[in-house]
Each structure stands twice: as C-alpha cells, then as structure tokens.
Amino acid sequence: MEMARAATLLASLGRRTMQSVSGLGYAGMLLLESLYFIAIGWRRGQPVRLGSVFEQMRQVGVDAIPIVSMLSFTIGVMLGIQFIAALGEFGAESQVIMAVAKSVTREFGALITAILVAGRTGSSLAARIGSMQVSQEVDALAVMGVEPVRYLVAPALIAMLIMMPALTMIANGMGLLGAALYASPFLDMSIGAYFVQTFNLLDPRDLWEGLSKSVVFAVLITLIGVSTGFAVSGGAEGVGRATTRAVVLSISLIVVADMLFSFFLNR
C-alpha cells in the first residue's frame, strides 16, 4: 500500500517534471520563432507590423507609467525611512545616499517594474491568447496564412524588450526621488544636492545591472504569458487558470532570476 502510494507520487512527480521540461521547450521554441519572424519574416510574407508593435508598446509601457511611478516612488520613500533608521544607529547617515542609490538602481527599480508588468501584461497576454485559442481565433489566423506567433507574439516581445528597460529607468528615477524627498531633511541637504551626490556615487555598472535584468524579465514575462495562453484548453475556466498561472509563474521566476543575476554580477 505504502509502496503503491510512493509509486503514484513518483509517477506524478515525473509527469510534472516532464510537463515543465516540455513547457520550457515550448517557450524556447516560441522565442526562436518570434526572433525568426522579427529578423526575416518580411521576406517570407510574414512581416511583423509596426502598427501592432506600437499598439503593444502603448499597452505594455505607456499605460503602465502611472502605476510604476507611484509604486517605485513609494518604495523609494520606504527605503529612505529604513536606511535612515538603520544607518542612523551607527551614525552613518551619510551612507544613506549610497545605499539608496545602489539598491534602487540595481534591484528595486527592475524588480518592482517586473512584478507590476507581470501582473498587468503577463496576465493580459495569457488571457488574450487563451481566449483566442478557445474561440478558435488562433486556428483562424493559422488557416488564413497569418502565423499566430508572428501576429500575436513577436509584436508583444519587441514591445516588452523596449518598454521594460524604459519603465525601469522611470522606476529608478521615481524611487530615487522618493528617497530624496524623505531623506534630504535628515541629511541637512537640498533635494538638488542629494541628487548631485547620488549621481557622483552611481557607477554606470549599477544602471546596467538593473537594465540588463529588466531585459531578461521582459523575455520571461512575455514567454510565460504567451505560452500559457497557447496551452489553454477547456473554455473560460481554462483561461482563468492560465491567467493565474502566468502571473504566479512569472513573478516566481522573476524573483529567482533576480537572485541568480545578483549573485553572478556581484562575485
């Protein structure tokens, strides 16, 4: 009896492993196919339309600016409070600027943006493609001779690759502003002087670390969103499940990827 249960458990573990490996393979294939269409699709009668790229850029990027700004500003204030409190105990308030500048540009800007975009865009990609799959719209595209990957995935991928770093830069700026507004009175300096100090302390490498992360997150969010969308079966309920799955999976992978990235970049 115990043996049988263990065997069932093992079997289900194996099945899940197989599923995630094949899911990974599928996502990789989608990535390669999109890159193929972006590179030479127009020569094969499958051009990636600039119009739909701009439309996606608006949805992914421009529409997300208010929420990204607001949250990264809040995080900035929060960091200011924490660092003033923690470093103040050692009388090291002057180090606050350094600590805020590095943690915002290397970590929080990219991370907050990625989590927000995963919630907004990852879910909407999964829901849109999932419901198109259910209503046979994806099939309709295919039989019309419009490659679904070219039409649905490639524009989203390009838009994400452009807008994620852009949003991350906005988040960096707003985060630093939030921290400056809170911390500068404690440091007896103007906000202007705070920013001058910040820029003196920042290394271009810090910005690059955040921005390169944001590019990786962009690919992760897009691929997870579209591949869960294409895998939808089972009607409206399936679309709902895919949406949830896309968000949870993207955020989990973003956090893990972020940790790995930080580890390798700071050795």
Partner: protein
C-alpha cells in the same frame, strides 16, 4: 439539384489517414477525395472524427500516418512558401465564427487582404464590403462581433473566408446553434456561392436536413471510419445499419465488453 454532375480534377486527396488523440485512435485509415466544383458534406455523429478530419484538411494537425494532398500539394512535405500560397487559396468558416473580437466586422473581413495583398486601403474597403453584401451583411462593417446575432456571426465569418476568392471553402457546422430559418438561409448561401464563385466546398455537419439539401455527395464517418461516400440518394438508400441509425435518430446499441469493463474499473489512473 442532386442530379449527378460532372466534376473536375481532385482538389483534396486523403489516403490512409490515421489520427491519435493520446492513446485513443480517432481516425482509422480514412480515404477521402473531393473534386473541383463539388459540395461535399462530411456527416457523422459527435465523436465520429469529422472535426479531426477537418483539422487535418486545414493543416492544423500533422497526420500520424497517411497522406493529405490539397490542390496537389502534400501538406507534410510542403515548404513554408507552398503552405502560405495554399492557405491563400483556402477559406475556412469555423463553427463559432472565430471572428477576432477586438476588431470590427469590416476589419475582420479585410484582414486577409491586408495581410496578403498590397492593395490600397480604398480597394480593400470596397472589396470587403462587397463580400459583406454577398452574405447579406451590407452596412454592418462598423459593428463589433459581440454586437452580432449567431446567424450574423456565421455569415460574417463566411464573408471573411471568401474575401480572397478561395478555390476551396471549408465550413464547420454551418447550422449549429441556429434556428431552422436562419440555417436554411445559410444553406441557400452556400449553394449560391458554389454557383456564383465556382468554389469547391466542404461542409462538416451533423444536421441531416441541411446535408441533404446542399450536398452533391456525402461522406459518412462513424467512429473514425468512412462508412460510405455517395450521393444523397445513395446515402438515403443505404442498408448500412449505422447510417440508418444516424438518419432515423436511433440510439446506437451499447456493446458490452466484459473484459474491457472490468479492466477500466480496476485500472490505475495514468
């Protein structure tokens, strides 16, 4: 209407087609030929494999075994270019219409033209409105698909399917979910399309009245096998028990397989 006609060369040639869904075999060595100018109805109950056959004809599934040739091109061996060229000559109207919900009806119909031709916007607009007129949806181009009734969705989908003037038109369940009058109108429309635009049309349906009205020939599928391909009269006059069951809406006899029954009850879930 159902008198024997002379048909042209074969446009669809399917030989020995097998299909699997997991460990279940859906199609068993299906042979299927459709000639130019014909209206062929694929008939069968649910689970007979007719949708699977259609998906193979559309090149949405690769055959597990056997050959599918459409307009002389073998789908498994076709290059991307050949496939694209083929798809421009095929129109498909899906069961639920599959209109893109984010676009107006007009944009839906115009999409194939926008994607595959270099025509200017004016011409595209005129051509797509022309096709909307053909399906009696003139003036509806600015509505969203969600604002259309079931019959209108099917007609709009038909307009999109024929906008490139395809040689081959596939129609999945034209009458599903429609009232008898609307579905009869669609049948008329299909007949008119064949005569006016000289299309070869494959219709998948389980609706007997509609099948008998439009078909030049009927292929009856049952449990993944072709029972019969013939004219309406041949199908009506068939002595095959399963066909008669289908025609007379008789429930089929459930075969009891004692071994299989016990195995299904005791088998571990895989």
């Amino acid at each position: 209407m159902n008198a024997p006609r002379e048909f042209g060369e074969p446009l669809i040639e399917v030989e020995g087609l097998d299909a699997w869904y997991g460990r279940r075999k859906i199609l068993h060595g299906v042979d299927f030929h459709v000639h130019a100018g014909e209206i062929r109805v694929i008939m069968g109950g649910s689970g007979s494999g007719k949708s699977t056959l259609l998906r193979h004809l559309l090149g949405l599934i690769r055959p597990a075994a056997g050959r599918v040739r459409i307009l002389g091109i073998e789908l498994t061996r076709a290059s991307d270019e050949e496939m694209l060229a083929l798809r421009r000559k095929m129109g498909v109207s899906f069961q639920g219409g599959a209109l893109f919900t984010s676009m107006t009806v007009g944009d839906n119909v115009a999409l194939p033209l926008r994607e595959h031709t270099a025509l200017d916007e004016n011409t595209i607009r005129i051509m797509s409105r022309l096709k909307l007129e053909v399906v009696n949806l003139g003036g509806f181009q600015d509505l969203m698909p969600s604002q259309l009734s079931g019959g209108m969705v099917k007609r709009a989908a038909l307009a999109r399917a024929i906008v490139m003037d395809p040689r081959l038109l596939f129609f999945d369940e034209p009458s599903a979910g429609l009232d008898p009058v609307v579905s009869a109108e669609l049948d008329e429309l299909i007949l008119r399309l064949r005569d006016a635009l000289r299309m070869t049309i494959v219709v998948v349906t389980h609706e007997l009245d509609s099948a008998f009205k439009i078909a030049d020939s009927i292929t009856v599928l049952d449990q993944g096998r072709v029972l019969l391909t013939g004219t309406v009269d041949e199908v009506r006059g068939s002595t095959n028990e399963r066909i008669q069951d289908l025609l007379n809406r008789r429930p089929r006899e459930v075969e009891v397989d004692v071994d299989g029954y016990l195995r299904r009850l005791t088998e571990e879930e895989l």
